[in-house]
Symmetry: C3
Subunit: 131 residues, 3 copies
C-alpha cells in the first residue's frame, strides 16, 4: 500500500541505495503494519545541481548528500505512528548507509484505500475503511 518515491544524488552507491530502500520498507512494516511483500518503490537519481536545498533549515544543516523520501500511503495513521516512522527511517539510514541523519527528509501523502490498484485492474482495498 505504500508507494515510495526516493530522490538522491548520483554519487550514492548501490549498497547505499539498497540500505535506504530496505530501511524505509522495514520501518513501514514495523510501525505502519504494512505487509512485508507490500513493497513498491522507485529511486530517482539526480545529477549535479538537480537536488536543490538550502545550507540549513530549522537549525539542521544539509549537505549535498541529501535523500528526499516521498511516501504515499493509505489513511490514517496517528501522530505517534508518524513520529515513530520518521525516527526509524532516519536512524536506520544514518546507521546503515553513511548518510547524515540531518539529510533524511521525509514526506507522507495519505490517500484513501479505494485509490489503490495493486495490479490486474482491480481496487483490492476498496472495502477497507479510511475513516
Amino acid at each position: 500500500m505504500p508507494f515510495v518515491q526516493i530522490y538522491l544524488p548520483a554519487t550514492f552507491t548501490s549498497a547505499q541505495k539498497k540500505t535506504i530502500s530496505v530501511s524505509i520498507q522495514e520501518s513501514l512494516v514495523a510501525i505502519f503494519n504494512v505487509p512485508e511483500k507490500d513493497y513498491f518503490q522507485v529511486i530517482n537519481i539526480l545529477s549535479d545541481g538537480h537536488l536543490i536545498h538550502s545550507d540549513s533549515y530549522l537549525d539542521i544543516p544539509h549537505t549535498d548528500q541529501m535523500v528526499y523520501i516521498y511516501i504515499t500511503c493509505a489513511l490514517s495513521r496517528t501522530k505517534e505512528m508518524k513520529q515513530a516512522l520518521y525516527a526509524s527511517i532516519a536512524q536506520k539510514i544514518a546507521a546503515g548507509a553513511a548518510v547524515n541523519i540531518n539529510d533524511v527528509f521525509i514526506i507522507l501523502n495519505e490517500i484513501p484505500w479505494e485509490n489503490w490498484s495493486f495490479g490486474q485492474g482491480k481496487a483490492q482495498m476498496i472495502h477497507k475503511s479510511t475513516g
Copy 2:
C-alpha cells in the same frame, strides 16, 4: 486536469511507452470525463535496480517489467468510476503494450480544483466545486 507520473524500466520500447500513455489518457477520457486535450504526463525511466517490488503481493506475482502509474486528478470520483478506471487502464496496457496485467500498479491522488494552473499563471478551475 489529471497529471500522470509514469515510472517504468529502461527496457520498454518507444511503442510500448506510447501505448501506455495513450491507454491511460483514453481511460481518463472515457471514464473520468476528462477532455481529450487535457493530457499531461511524464514518463520516468528507471535503470536497473531502481524500480523496486516484491515477487508477489496479494497473490499477484510481479516481474521486473512493472509499470507504476501515479495519477493526480481533481476531486471527487465515485468508487465505481475508480474501479472502472483501473480496469480500463490495466486491460488496455496489457492488450496493447505486452505488459502483464499483474504488473500495472495505479494510484490516484485527488486534489481540489483550485489547486491547478494550466498555464498563464491562472487558476482556470477555481470556480468549480470539489463536492
Copy 3:
C-alpha cells in the same frame, strides 16, 4: 515545508533551470510565507518523448518546452493566495527563463503539518494546526 518536483525537457540550460528553481522559491516565500531557507526541490530531466502534452488545452497552446511544477505544501492556503502564487511563478519564469507563460503548469498537493520530517527523524511541525 514545500517540496517541489520540477519536470522539464533535456533542452533547458543550467541558467534556465536555476531561474525556474529560484522563481518558484521566491514566489513561495513572498506569497505563502515560506521561510527562505525552507527550500527543497528536485529537477527531473525528461528526454525526448517523455514529457507528454496536447497541442492546446483551454485555448492555451503548448510547446515542447513545457515545465511541470508539482508543489507539495502544508494545508491550508486561501484561494487568493493560490491564485497569487500561480501568477507570480509563471510571470517570473516567463520573464527570466525564456519559457512561454502558457507552458508553466502548476499543481498544489496540500498535506498536514504532521506529515513532514525535515531531517533528524523528527516531525518538526507536528504542533502546528492544519485546521
